[in-house]
Symmetry: C2
Subunit: 184 residues, 2 copies
Amino acid sequence: MEDKNLNENLEDVEELLDTVDTEGKCADESTEESSENIKEMLSKKEAECEEYLDLLKRTKAEYDNFRKRTQKEKEGLFDEGFRTSIEKIIPVLDNLERALEHSDEEGALKEGLEMILKMFKDILEKEGVSLIPSKGEKFDPNLHNAVMHIDDDAYGDNEVVEVLLEGYTYKDKVIRHSMVKVAN
Amino acid sequence: MEDKNLNENLEDVEELLDTVDTEGKCADESTEESSENIKEMLSKKEAECEEYLDLLKRTKAEYDNFRKRTQKEKEGLFDEGFRTSIEKIIPVLDNLERALEHSDEEGALKEGLEMILKMFKDILEKEGVSLIPSKGEKFDPNLHNAVMHIDDDAYGDNEVVEVLLEGYTYKDKVIRHSMVKVAN
């Protein structure tokens, strides 16, 4: 809606400027005019003035709004690109973790893999990607996605008892909710 | 420089609007005026009109420029965020590749790792991240970073004979140059 007003306003300005260009500037070429004529011209000029001033105010206000809005949008866009990329790549991290968890082999490959996994997590953390605290926390629908449920008095109300898939945030925005099992 | 003009212009508009607000709208409250006075008022009004129109034109032109420039900047920002993220994470890919290359162990872990590596590369490719063609290509300083050199007639002039570290592009912009050995 804001954009519509903006465009309408700019169209008004275009039209006005077109009119001025074709009609030539004001009625400056007056020779000798009667007092009545001059009064009439003054009255027209005043109306023209009002119109320009009104458009000038509106154009300026919309320009200001546009600049403010744009600045906010720009700040968000870089982060959105960054977040989108992490979202695509997180499954690689999931699979590396799973491969290590499920392997009972020992050797240089496993050791190397553990180092790579640590490096991966360190990079993410340094760039502002955080693991969502889940296990033992109170269930929070903004961060957790409850996919299983148990009744067990050993746990508190709505306590997250198991994490099926880790979730992550980037600069306080959720990249992916953690998938959890919730008690009671 | 553009921004300076823009700000100056907006300051002009601010000043002008301030003047109007404090002085009140035009000299509309004229009672009976002499013909001379009216002529003078008309002349002032005409000057005022010109000033508004001039500012209106300039404000509109700068607004238009700002909108065009902003649109381009916004398009680039998402990609820049995406590219920055990939740049940080690429070393994880390097290390996974190295770990696999150097390992002579066989087993489920290695097989799993090979699948994860393939998945990683597939995700990157799908998202627009491409491996820079290097080995066998003619050296291109826009894509390759020559860190070693050999003289060997078995190769062509400036042929890349070995890749020490793979390079990547995202949407035709280099994320990282490939580090190469160049012949002749």
